[in-house]
């Protein structure tokens, strides 16, 4: 068997999917997190519980939703609850094992900005805002983050703390009385990052196949740290890749219109 060809974005989604376990209860953000969670469900984690903030619990969509409230999510859910209940009983109640977030801007401690570029009161770019993220970041037992690397996205200092990661690092979470783990995994199109046990700075633990340390640094706005042993991410299997591409094809066809 020849090795399948794949894009960095496909590698990112598949690497993220592998981090999810069969008994995880995931609060799924739209975009890359949604793809990763559903690939996990369609491959090694068939019983994973996917929750979207629209109130759908235990969904199994055949195509990726365009929004967090597409009908497909409700049609395939175990149950659908009102939004206040979602945020009170399920998120705040501590039932979510993994909160899965994307980001417009992120710093090395996993703090995320999706609010504004520039000053809050007179922004250069007004982004959509936090939505569920401020509480997903603190009430989920752990947080996974996924984004494609760029100097614009991975910055030394974010413009606005939409959601709290490890703050200034170290025990900053505990100091604020937050008893959840926070960001424990960052998956980009180039690498897998985990927080240093002490400083909590995101550190590269695995490079995707063919990616160099220089490539990672060139697309990151802070000085990148590498773990003592940096592994190579196993490339996508044929099953993973076929599953992802089928899902994307079904999704694209569905979203193009009725």
């Amino acid at each position: 068997m020849s090795k399948p060809e794949f894009t960095p974005n496909e590698m990112m989604t598949i690497a993220a999917s592998r981090a999810l376990k069969n008994d995880d209860v995931c609060f799924v953000g739209i975009g890359a997190p949604s793809a990763a969670c559903n690939i996990a469900r369609l491959t090694h984690a068939p019983d994973i519980t996917l929750i979207y903030e629209s109130g759908t619990i235990g969904t199994a969509p055949d195509v990726l939703p365009l929004s967090i409230g597409d009908g497909e999510l409700c049609d395939t859910a175990l149950t659908t609850v009102p939004v206040p209940e979602m945020f009170r009983y399920w998120l705040q109640g501590g039932r979510i094992t993994i909160g899965f977030l994307g980001a417009a801007q992120i710093d090395k401690y996993g703090n995320i900005n999706t609010t504004v570029i520039g000053d809050y009161d007179s922004p250069k770019t007004r982004l959509p805002g936090g939505g569920g993220a401020p509480e997903i970041a603190t009430s989920s037992q752990e947080v996974y983050i996924t984004l494609a690397q760029s100097k614009r996205g991975m910055v030394e200092k974010i413009d606005f703390y939409t959601s709290f990661g490890h703050g200034d690092g170290g025990d900053h979470r505990q100091k604020l009385g937050i008893d959840t783990k926070g960001p424990t995994l960052l998956i980009t199109d180039l690498a897998i990052w985990k927080p240093d046990p002490v400083t909590k700075e995101f550190t590269i633990v695995s490079l995707h196949p063919g990616v160099t340390r220089d490539q990672v640094q060139e697309t990151c706005g802070w000085t990148v740290s590498f773990a003592a042993n940096v592994e190579e991410t196993p490339p996508p299997t044929e099953l993973e890749l076929a599953t992802l591409r089928d899902l994307k094809a079904r999704t694209e066809a569905a979203h193009k219109g009725a």
Binding site: I30, L66, I68, G131
Partner: protein, 285 residues
């Protein structure tokens, strides 16, 4: 006690310049027809409230109806940013827009508190989040038993709320099903509530006892507007028009294109136009 009236009358008699108003819907059941009617009637100085302002709020802001926006996520869901909203916030076009920004958890709790008749909601939120710095309506209190610091926000109590629902019975009781979002709380939190529905049925007698039903004495007015949630969807009736959401991104990017689109599709249109817009989406609903 709910009346059945045409949508134009329901909007005219329940909404006023300067009101705080929520057109609620969490992706599903967005009351587009009601919002378009409000645009046609040309209201001004509204405080627009909604967890997820999307295309219809982009349209209302672009048409200059809004003085202030209270929200938690302002995006074209799954597509990107709201370009008319950006133009207002970044460039003050068509005029300046005041912003009160929350998280989803805060907005959901604030509506819930409004429905529950409380002056405020408390929740475990905003820890380490910068919105607490820029929004004076976010405060913190101490749990009187554990001493834990908890976030507090004032209850939301809109002057009027518009929602779209599947159906009403002849007494004016309203059924909402599928992704029910925050609509029940919004209706119960509001001083006046207007519901557009797909249809009116004789009764609900064959339904499950625990469904989301708004008793007729919680609803001010009901207008029958088939397709009234388009391009959003109505569970059991028609599917979401995702292609329209994708198209909006280009329309809203240009002030003239936007104005032309609004003239043709909103200002020169009527509530009766919605039924045709969902025709091709009924099989998938």
């Amino acid at each position: 006690m709910a009346r059945f009236v045409p949508l134009s009358q329901a909007v005219a008699e329940n909404l006023g310049n300067g009101d705080s108003v929520a057109f609620e819907g969490f992706t599903h059941l967005i009351p587009t027809a009601a919002a378009h009617e409000a645009i046609r009637q040309g209201f001004r100085d509204l405080t627009l409230i909604r967890m997820t302002p999307d295309v219809v709020y982009d349209q209302m802001i672009g048409m200059g109806l809004a003085r202030k926006l209270i929200f938690s996520y302002a995006g074209n869901p799954g597509v990107g940013l709201l370009r008319r909203l950006r133009d207002a916030v970044e460039n003050g076009f068509p005029h300046k827009l005041e912003i009160e920004e929350h998280s989803h958890a805060a907005m959901a709790n604030a509506y819930e508190a409004g429905a529950a008749g409380l002056p405020c909601a408390i929740f475990r939120g905003y820890r380490g989040a910068e919105l607490a710095r820029v929004n004076p309506n976010i405060k913190f209190i101490e749990c009187p038993f554990t001493g834990e610091s908890l976030a507090a926000v004032p209850a939301l109590r809109p002057d009027v709320v518009f929602i779209h629902a599947q159906k009403a019975d002849r007494k004016g009781n309203v059924l909402v099903e599928g992704i029910v979002g925050i609509q029940k709380e919004a209706v119960l939190a509001a001083k006046r509530a207007v519901v557009t529905v797909e249809e009116v049925v004789d009764d609900f007698s064959d339904l499950h006892p625990n469904l989301t039903i708004l008793p007729h004495w919680t609803v001010t007015d009901i207008a029958v507007v088939p397709g009234g949630a388009h391009p959003s969807y109505t569970h059991g009736y028609y599917a979401r028009d995702n292609a329209e959401y994708l198209k909006w991104d280009k329309i809203a990017a240009d002030r003239d294109l936007f104005r032309d689109w609004m003239q043709k599709n909103v200002l020169d249109a009527t509530p009766e136009d919605f039924v045709d817009r969902v025709e091709k989406l009924r099989d998938a609903g």
